[in-house]
């Protein structure tokens, strides 16, 4: 079964340890949610999986289908099928959304093969309709002048176009009102299937009402301290994150 396995991962930024022995495994066809208070290291986990250069892995490993990805550049990981929906998507002035997506898709094709323009636009418009994104958006520069909600929807559009094997959604629900949240959730649910493994990183339980996870993990102080099913999310919501501090924080393997 195609999966990502994170083993005893330790991550620091400068002198500061953020992830302190994290174990997690998620496979294609599954949706896992990670919840936790601010500072627990959730976003760091996402960025380290994507290969962000600011973080140093000081121990452990991340395996994609049995092979370590730690030595791989971010773009190599991306072309192997890893996608991250950013918490704070970047603006790229002068580069249109259409051209950006074309470049991203073209980069995945073998040398000499050209992306077919008609097929591309057909697919793009189909996905845009799914996410209630207006046509004019294709000509706008990537994320420039976009509201928070528009940026998040743009992340999901990119995910829909790139069809990753493993998607990590870093606080995709933050800053969204209910309607925007529903649209984003609809997009993610449409992409859900046996060919993709999804890791949802979220602060609030609310998103999980719309995207029903198969597994829920709770992260605290750089580790996963509790795992369960969707009921765990509800329990966390009613008891609050303080409840975790009373629980013995021992690393618990997921699955």
């Amino acid at each position: 079964m195609s999966s990502i396995v994170i083993k005893d991962l330790q991550v620091a930024i400068g002198d500061k340890e953020i992830i302190r022995g994290l174990n997690l495994e998620f496979s294609k066809g599954e949706i896992h949610a990670i919840m936790g208070p601010n500072g627990s290291g959730k976003s760091t986990l996402a960025k380290v999986m994507a290969g962000h250069p600011d973080y140093q892995v000081t121990g452990g490993d991340i395996l994609l289908d049995g092979e370590s990805i730690l030595e791989l550049e971010p773009d190599v990981r991306a072309r192997k099928g890893i996608f991250m929906a950013f918490q704070y998507p970047m603006e790229i002035p002068g580069v249109s959304n259409a051209n950006f997506l074309r470049a991203a898709l073209q980069a995945r094709l073998p040398e000499g093969e050209e992306l077919d323009a008609t097929d591309f636009y057909h697919l793009l418009y189909q996905k845009m309709d799914l996410l209630d994104i207006r046509r004019e958006f294709t000509a706008r520069a990537v994320n420039e002048g976009f509201s928070g909600g528009e940026k998040k929807r743009n992340e999901i559009l990119q995910m829909a176009m790139l069809e990753p094997a493993f998607a990590v959604l870093d606080e995709t629900d933050s800053g969204l009102d209910i309607d925007a949240l529903k649209v984003v959730a609809k997009g993610v649910n449409t992409l859900r299937g046996p060919n993709v493994g999804i890791l949802l990183i979220t602060h609030y339980q609310r998103l999980l009402n719309y995207i029903i996870p198969d597994f829920v993990h709770v992260m605290f102080d750089g580790r996963i301290v509790r795992s369960g099913d969707k009921e765990l999310a509800l329990e966390l919501e009613s008891k609050g994150y303080d409840w975790l501090k009373e629980v013995e924080a021992e690393p618990v393997g997921a699955k």
Binding site: G51, D75, E91, I92
Partner: protein, 469 residues
Amino acid sequence: MSTPANSVDIDRDVGNFFYDLTPARDAGVGLSEKTIDYIVDVKEEPEWLREFRKNAYHVFMSKPLPTHWAGDELREIDFDVIRYYLASGESAKRSWEEVPEEIKQTFERLGIPESERKFLAGVEAQFDSEAVYSNIKRAVADQGVIFMGSTAGLKERPDIFRKWFGKVIPTGDNKFSALNSAVFSGGSFIYVPPGVKVKHPLQAYFRINAENFGQFERTLIIADEGSEVMYMEGCTAPKFTTATLHSAVVELVALPGAKIQYITVQNWSPNVFNLVTKRGLALENAEIKWIDCNIGSRLTMKYPSVVLKGRKARGEVISIALAGDGQHQDTGAKMIHAADETTSNIVSKSISIGKGRATYRGLVHVPKHLKHCRNNTECDALLINSSSRTDTYPAITVRGTGNSTQHEASVSQISAEQIFYMQQRGLSEAQAMSLAVNGFVNDLVRQFPMEYSVELKRLIDLEMEGSVG
């Protein structure tokens, strides 16, 4: 993620070749009155021009190098080892088939026959100072448009030529306009009759193909009342270890209601000194637009200008500069307002890579007695590496009442976060840098005719490839 390298290996394969030709007419190295006599005699030029050239030679010799404001790099030009005139001994050709084989090969590699078929009204290609290939398509000739080399122009149409030659840029304007006035050869002479709107862009190519040879083309374009014309030039040169000098002069005259657009893509090899004086005179309701892109050369000093001499005249300069290791792009614009209700617009974007240096110099002058004049300047600089450099020298003098001026400047970097974002979508670091840099200049590149914007994007991609470690 690797750190971008500080040294840049600029891939110039497009221009890195030359053919071992024995030039039939060669004035030898160094400059003296004898050189002038040689040029005039070989080209069979009229006596007025001999006098004009010799006068210019003396002006050139008397002026110092402008190192008091320009960079010290100028001191590296050794005027005594430059060949000031070189030609293959053939007269201008009508059709492609008649051009000598070696020269033909050079231009075929530059793609001229293709572009002619597709877009252009006429192509005049210059090789080592003389027009080897001149072809005016029937449509343009039928409209009464004159498009020929500068030598042919001054001989066949002195009535028009002498009226404007040296009026927009006088010999003594600067040391290098004086040099050009002394030894100019080649360049285009264009006259567009009143009311004629030339449908296709007119184009010329230039090439330096001998060690220590300098190009001194002289272009004069006159657009008569209500006419419109677009002119494009793009050039390459092979790489040599000793310096080569390119010192052109371009004079534009837009008579009342006329429009001239002059588009340049400069991609000389990184050993060329490119010192050019370009100026246009815009009369009442006329418009002159310079679209200037500087990617090559070791040092380029060029400030396309417009003298807004008639009421409601409009001047515009769109400038893109890319400076890599060992390069200094010293560019900008000058807008001289000399009538009421004139407007000028300058947009400049520069990119400095590795140890490259980009400089913007902008002069805007609106004197006290004028009214309702408007100027807008925007200059944006992008620094790619920590050793990259950019300088801005705006010189804006606006007096009087009812005139307005606006100046905006910015300096930015491509952030590591932006690169990471693009890499996460599957683009390599080099592809990401390329995309971001092309995005930075995109709104200006779109103003170039399509075949140029495609070539420009490719040139920028090539430069960016060398900049990432």
